[in-house]
């Protein structure tokens, strides 16, 4: 059976991709951010996940307002990146895992989530930048992935509680997947930032640190936030926190933080990287 071995949460701002393209990883502005990924690479080398489920938000590459999904799941054999309009180099395609995609689709629909299924899907910087950060050697070296998106563009957004339960449904779907494999969850986005309006540039370190604390031991505190509270405290694009909340929902065993780093600012954003170990309930029971 498949097992969720842990999760990695990280910011995904496009300028990270720009810095990678220009080789600025050792530049004084970027070094503290990129250095935080050394322990993440160690964790990946030690734990060797086979496949990733990447929960992120599309920023207007694959989806437009003519057909705007709340929750979408990729079900393709591979996923192409593409021009987003601001000059980031287009990355080579990433491999999918359509068997796991359909496992998630079948089992999550059965739990009353109303999915959009995408047998073709372009992945934007919010998928590609984290994949580059975790597997710097490129698309072919990265493990296969299933992209899952949460609308963060157009209100009404799904409530934090709904995203948490969406994650729970994904977790149950993965853990009933008959293939013997190790799954890592990725959550991308956030933390606090605001790009629009006269409050643009808003960052809330105190709230970000509170989120990074609660997400380990008290995720219900995050799931209970209203969308208005999240926007007040994390800025209008801070709603990307929903992706972290869904990721956390998927881990219903014992969760501990293996690594955690907060760094302000990454572009306009409170930049955060966290790695979580997960011991699924069934395995804990078996060991007792």
């Amino acid at each position: 059976m498949a097992r969720i071995i842990g999760a990695i949460a990280t910011s995904h701002v496009p300028s990270i991709g720009g810095a990678i393209a220009k080789g600025l990883q050792k530049d004084p502005y970027w070094k503290p951010f990129f250095d935080a990924f050394d322990p993440v690479h160690d964790w990946l080398a030690r734990n060797k996940p086979d496949v990733a489920v990447v929960i992120y938000n599309d920023h207007g590459l694959n989806f437009f307002l003519d057909q705007m999904p709340t929750f979408a799941v990729g079900a393709a054999e591979s996923y192409t990146n593409a021009d987003e309009g601001w000059g980031l180099p287009v990355r080579p395609p990433y491999a999918g895992d359509s068997e796991l995609s359909w496992q998630i689709i079948d089992k999550v629909m059965a739990q009353d989530f109303d999915l959009v299924t995408c047998q073709e899907m372009q992945v934007d910087h919010a998928f590609v930048v984290p994949m580059q950060l975790l597997w710097p050697d490129g698309g072919a070296k990265a493990i296969p992935a299933v992209p899952v998106t949460i609308n963060s563009i157009q209100h009404p957004l799904p409530r934090a509680e709904r995203c948490f339960r969406f994650g729970q449904a994904i977790g149950r779907a993965i853990e009933s997947f008959p293939r013997d494999c190790k799954v890592v969850l990725l959550a991308t986005g956030g933390l606090s930032h605001q790009l629009d309006g006269t409050r643009a540039g808003f960052i809330n370190k105190e709230f970000d640190l509170w989120c990074m604390d609660k997400i380990v031991n008290d995720p219900q505190a995050l799931a209970s936030l209203t969308t208005k509270e999240i926007i007040e405290k994390a800025g209008s694009q801070g709603v990307e926190l929903m992706c972290w909340i869904a990721m956390r929902g998927a881990m219903q065993g014992h969760v501990s933080a293996a690594f955690s780093k907060y760094h302000i600012p990454v572009s306009n954003t409170g930049g955060a990287v966290m790695v979580f170990d997960h011991e699924p309930v069934v395995h804990r029971l078996a060991a007792e």
Binding site: H59, E84, G197, T198, R199, K228, I231
Partner: protein, 114 residues
Amino acid sequence: MDDQFNIPGTPIFDGTQARKGYALNKMCYSFNDELNRKTFLADEEAYMRTYGLSEPQKEAIRHRNVLELIAAGGNIYYLAKFAGIFGLGVQDVGAQQTGMSLEAFKEMLTAHGH
């Protein structure tokens, strides 16, 4: 629906804005494609007509003014693709909206770390 959140300086892209801004956002979404960016630059007025922009939307595009574009129904994620045509990033866009210089805006961001 009104902007039910009412958070100062914080636009909410809800149904009201989505309805108002559809043509503008559709045009900006088209800027994912390099050919469309070039076609726009070659004749901005013709391109805006093709997408059926309203007069306030056209004015906001002519002014390259982000707050005006948002008031006309623009969503920041699509507007970022418009800004990208001119090599402007989210920090330039932030500086413009807050009335700060780019340097002052960046300093403000860095100050949040302390």
